[in-house]
Amino acid sequence: MKKYFLCLMIVFFFSCKKEEGCMDPSAANYNSDATIENGDCTYNLISININFSQTVNQNPLVLNEMIYTNEANDNFSIQTVRYLISNIFLHSVDTSILIKNVHFIDVDNPESSSIIVNDIIDKNYTQISFTMGLIENENQTNLYLNEDFFPSFVWPEFLGGGYHYMQLEGDYNNLFLGYATHTGPTNGIDYSFTKNFDIPTNIQDGSSITINMEINNWYSNPNVVNLYNGIMQNSNIQAQLQENGITDVFSIVISK
């Protein structure tokens, strides 16, 4: 008799373990008792913003004033800041969702400083990744003809074709000198780079992720770069700017 009782217990025990349900904790119908994934998870939808900001020495960018000094001791002003951020992804443990293929930021156009992302599934996103510029196979002449960065971002076919990654311009040292930190696929080499940031707090409906560009860091750490003109055919400077860009130009802030 005792043996039968034990068998019965075992049967009960195993049957409990076999409860089916949604096992994804970020799902709206998460079943904490489920032991078998039934593939029927449903999710709430949330809307978030991806914002793009720019700072110089941690202060908000001020245009057209000769108030900045870089690591190379150049005094400079900033008149033009335009750049492409591509392949913006949000990642959770098991999925990655594409937010936008290519986004053009022009500080003269406030609308370009934000992407409104509507109705993405409410998951526990742990990382955001994006590419500064365009990777080689996405950087071809005559792609993006109908995008707002055409034609101003065209990288001449004579110089290999495709598009600029960034146009950062202003005056330096005295008002009669202009600089043009133009990055792009110099000599056909891909100098774009991808950044990946952890999202420390769970984003929810209405959250914002701000991707900040610290402009002065383009010119320092690890390479001290002078303000130049004519760097569109200079692979050496492009490589230095790329390395600086990877190091500490970008950061993210989550709000709400």
Binding site: S152, F158, G178, N229, G230
Partner: protein, 361 residues
């Protein structure tokens, strides 16, 4: 009894009268141009409004043309627009047409620095070349309007241009021997209004497409550029000449506004800044295309340079400093430092952008 007979008699007569006229036959389809609201019987003679689309091939390396949804290009519309463009009927004294200041041989621009209106008053800016306008995102040197339709409203009533009123234009056109039918054919309207006048002109302007220059034929592999032209091409497209940042892509313009160092402050003409009221835009003007630049002299917003040599000399000497001068002017007062040979080569390249088919249209 008699009274009843009388009443019946009258009823009979009144019904008889009503039945007298034969039912009207005509076109009963609301969508037809000759729809007859009184018609009861369809006579199968409906005429429908029908236009022939004006087709063109989008040029290599160009975006899609900006065409308003309510004004697609039709053969009828383009041809009406051309007639209006060439007709002094739009001016108050019947003396000045669009083409008077946008002359075909000059790539539809004015060979004079500024244009003179019907009252002999001169304007203050050079009449723009009308070429590949369908790919512009704003118009006039200051970008004050965002569509060709909107732009075409201006010269007709501008006191120093055609000095007319739209009310007067409408009366003149509606009483004209040909225009009412042409507008009917193009837009299916019975009364000509100003909106449809500018729509027709805008259609014609969008049809002014130039992509058959020597440079285009070079890209298509049909001709070779000579060594001087090739060297000019290299100067143009490298940061040595750095022409391409503003005059880039196959459109040879960027749809943006720049101050290219023509003047010191204070500016005589605030340009873009007058439209935006933003001091950072003072002295900026819209980049013109360089296609057909050989034919569209004089140059700059005020037509101050008569030759391409003068234009290159301006960039070669670096221009004048002002607070809004473009950083791409780089070395103010120093300039590009091109040699005479390099200047010649650059001009040789610019002349490969000439499209004689276009000005012989």
């Amino acid at each position: 009894m008699r009274l009843f007979n009388l009443i019946f008699f009258f009823i009979f007569i009144s019904y008889g009268c009503k039945k007298d006229p034969a039912p009207i036959s005509g076109c009963t389809d609301l969508l037809a141009t000759n729809y007859n609201p009184n018609a009861i019987i369809s006579n199968d003679d409906c005429i429908y409004f029908n236009t022939t689309p004006y087709t063109f091939q989008n040029p290599y390396g160009f975006p899609n043309m900006n065409i308003p949804e309510n004004n697609p290009l039709t053969m009828e519309g383009v041809s009406l627009g051309e007639k209006l463009f060439n007709d002094p009927i739009l001016s108050a004294d019947n003396s000045l047409a669009c083409i008077s200041c946008h002359q075909t041989n000059s790539s539809f621009s004015d060979p004079n620095p500024v244009s003179v209106g019907i009252d002999n008053i001169a304007g203050n800016r050079n009449a723009s070349a009308l070429i590949n306008l369908g790919w512009n995102t704003s118009f006039n040197w200051d970008g004050s309007v965002l569509s060709l339709e909107e732009q075409a409203f201006e010269p007709v009533i501008n006191p120093i241009e055609m000095h007319n009123t739209w009310q007067n234009v409408e009366i003149t056109l509606n009483n004209h021997a040909e225009y009412p039918q042409l507008f009917k054919n193009a837009f299916n309207i019975d009364y000509i209004d100003s909106n449809h006048v500018v729509m027709a002109i805008a259609q014609f302007e969008r049809s002014l497409i130039s992509t058959n220059s020597k440079y285009d034929r070079f890209l298509r592999g049909e001709v070779q550029l000579n060594p001087s032209e090739l060297n000019g091409y290299a100067i143009f497209n490298s940061e040595k000449g750095d022409c391409f940042h503003c005059h880039g892509s196959q459109m040879f313009m960027d749809n943006l506004f720049h101050n290219n160092g023509l003047d010191s402050e204070p500016f005589n003409d605030l340009g873009r800044g007058k439209i935006t009221n933003n001091p950072n835009d003072y002295g900026k003007f819209k980049t013109p295309t360089l296609r057909n630049i050989e034919f569209s002299a004089p140059y700059m917003h005020d037509g101050r340079f008569f030759t391409l040599e003068e234009v290159i000399d301006h960039y070669n000497s670096g221009g004048k400093y002002s607070s809004t001068v473009d950083p791409l002017m780089k070395k103010i007062g120093v300039g590009l430092q091109l040699t005479n040979q390099e200047k010649e080569d650059l001009i040789a390249f610019l002349k490969t952008l000439s499209d004689t088919d276009f000005i012989n249209k």
